[in-house]
Amino acid sequence: MPVLWIVLIVLALGGVGYMLGRRRAMASADGDVRHLHSLPTYYGSNVALLTIAPALLFMGLWLLMQPILIERQIIGLIPESAIAEGSSRSLVMSDVRRVAEGLDTAVAQGAMTPDQADSIRTEFTDVRERLGRVGVALGSNVRPEVLRAAQHYRGLQARYSAIMTVLVLAVAVVGFGYSYLQTTKDFRARNVVETGIKSLLILASTIAILTTVGIILSMLFETRNFFSQYSWTNFFFGTTWSPSFSGRGGASQLGILPLLWGTLYISVVALLVAVPIGLFAAIYMSEYAGPKMRAIAKPLIEILAGIPTIVYGLFALITVGPMLRDYFAQPLGLGESSASVMTAGVVMGIMLIPFVSSLSDDIINAVPQSMRDGSLGLGATKSETIRQVVIPAALPGVVGAILLAASRAIGETMIVVLGAGAAARISLNPFEAMTTVTVKIVSQLTGDTDFASPETLVAFALGLTLFVITLGLNVLALYIVRKYREQYE
């Protein structure tokens, strides 16, 4: 039975449970709500919750485990002889999966009967050709062992799904029965429902945390691989970035410093553009602009936030870059390149303006009017009030907004590729082409990659470094916000 159907059945059962639980509670109180411990809806929710939640949780776990169990069994079926030179068991396994999926598709489209799918043999049928006809392209002819393993795979899958359907429905029914029988007028349904809801919320946040941990672990794992092939001192303190690509001879030099320098330089320029403009715009919007002006200007500024970064990149490439070169770099004798730190930084700053301004605007608006009144009532001017009362009160939030913008700047890729170029370099001249960590992560992973050489694995080390930096920024932001909060509240 398809998963969707199971879910619907369980939900329907929960709905029925809600009605019945409610009715039973009312009946046990002789129809008088005042005799119940909790409101009738709590009794209904209790039954629904106990019917739905355990069953769906069980199904989720089962679906996570099922592929692992099946693969365990199948992998034993593949004989050593079926593993070609230079290939591996897991590659063959993925072939098996692909063929099994192909057979599923063929059956679903009616090109094969289920019986045929189970009984065809490579000896009598060109499986590759038959699957190709239903749109499943295979890289090579299907070997008999693979086909047999795939058929076995499908068999196991069908069996496991059947078992799962039965078990999930059983769990739902047991939950239903148990909670239904529990329902009497003295049963503390409200407390149970509250606990149930709290557990669901905890589960949700746990999933979020576990995902983060998973991401970090996978990065850590690949990074360790990288450092087993490349010395970490060279990576962190190397000032040259020149990867050599697959087998073209010569060792790669993978020093992160030029990339970090580029990242920080461009981000600083971007913040220098975005923070003053964004903050001043926010102050104007929230303190000076009339309602009409605000209604027009605010959406206009926010349009900037909706422009895809690649469009900003084009703007940098064809407009800002050449303009900066012709009007600043060349007359000042600072360089001939239109791709430069300045170009990328300025354009990225423009991109960040709406971030800074709309966040700061909200924060400034949240400063209570009584605060401004207090200052104005003492004879302060509007700008004195803003400088000495409003901004300090809003500062923690504004700092948060700025650090958020900094994180965006550090993680930005498209604008840098088009605006600053791809040359890793350490230089003070802002009109020279430089590049950032993110750009190099992309370029190391594009094209033909085997995730084994240091040249590709370095991407994970770069990613992890970037992650640590943004994490540090966030921690710093939290620290600042907390420090001010202590002082002000």
């Binding site: 309602p291 209570p368 009017q369 009584s370 605060m371 401004r372 009144d373 207090g374 200052s375 104005l376 009532g377 003492l378 004879g379 302060a380 001017t381 004195e384 000495q388 009362v389 300090p392 009160a393 002082q487 002000y488 509240e489």
Partner: protein
């Protein structure tokens, strides 16, 4: 009208500091203050009394143009400070508010230290030549606000961390620190215990020697204790205005009488 007669009688004794003529205030469509005429004298404490929502705060806020900060509020009529119309376009509301200080109904300390809260006004008006002067002003103001003893050891603590009543006194100290000519106090004792209330009333009495003080209060006893003149507001109208003693012992208007004796409110 009654009050006109009383006003005329009082004008002879003391100089008029603020006078309102045909003052109207609208909040959008709501007519919150209706045709108020009043003369507030120098070196006098004037009490505004009246039931909640009758417009006391609104009228008080007209006197230093704090209603400018409310988008929907509109003020009509004339309000003269020392004979000059404060709603004249030539008048700078910032300068006006330096002269006419205000303590708000809700305590609103700045998110700064206690010291900086009090030093705020003197700093922006350049009242202190150096740090030592400023220290003197801050201490004197906190003493006048009857809060010095409680905060003298923690002047660097945030003002927002004080209790409600302490915040109220901090705001009083902050307002007197700028030495305004007129001090408008909107229920300055609403969150204070009897001892602090007595201290604030002492301060008001002391301020009267140099300044004009207007105080909004819900306590009849307080009005009777601290004020020389009392104005009774009802539904946006100034019903009666006169000598405090006369208002409390011999009110002319039946509405005043029933409010004072506790029959409306």
């Amino acid at each position: 009208m009654n009050d006109m007669r009383i006003v005329e009688r009082e004008v002879e004794t003391k100089a008029v500091k603020i006078s309102a003529r045909n003052c109207q205030v609208y909040y959008g469509e709501t007519h919150a203050i209706k045709d108020v005429n009043i003369d507030i004298e120098d070196k006098t404490v004037t009490a505004f009394i009246g039931p909640s929502g009758c417009g006391k705060s609104t009228f008080l806020r007209c006197l230093n143009r704090m209603n400018d900060t409310i988008d929907v509020a509109r003020v009509e009529g004339e309000i003269l400070l020392d004979g000059e119309d404060i709603y004249d376009p030539k008048v700078d509301p910032v300068q006006l508010r330096a002269k006419v200080g205000m303590v708000f109904q809700k305590p609103n300390p700045f998110p700064k230290t206690i010291y900086d809260n009090v030093a705020y006004g003197p700093r922006i008006h350049g009242l202190a030549g150096n740090k030592a002067d400023l220290d003197v002003i801050v201490e004197k103001s906190l003493r006048r606000g009857a809060i010095w003893d409680e905060v003298k050891d923690r002047l660097d603590a945030p003002g927002t961390g004080l209790s409600g009543g302490q915040q109220q006194r901090l705001c009083i100290a902050r307002a007197v620190a700028t030495e305004p000519e007129v001090l408008l106090m909107d229920e300055p004792c609403s969150a204070l215990d009897p001892i602090a209330t007595a201290q604030v009333e002492e301060l008001i009495d002391e301020l009267r020697e140099q300044y004009s003080v207007v105080i909004v209060t819900h306590s009849m006893q307080q009005a009777a204790r601290v004020s020389q003149k009392t104005a009774f507001f009802h539904l946006g109208n100034l019903v009666e205005f006169g000598e405090t003693g006369q208002i409390f012992t011999n009110p002319q208007d039946p509405r005043t009488e029933s409010y004072i004796t506790g029959r409306i409110g």
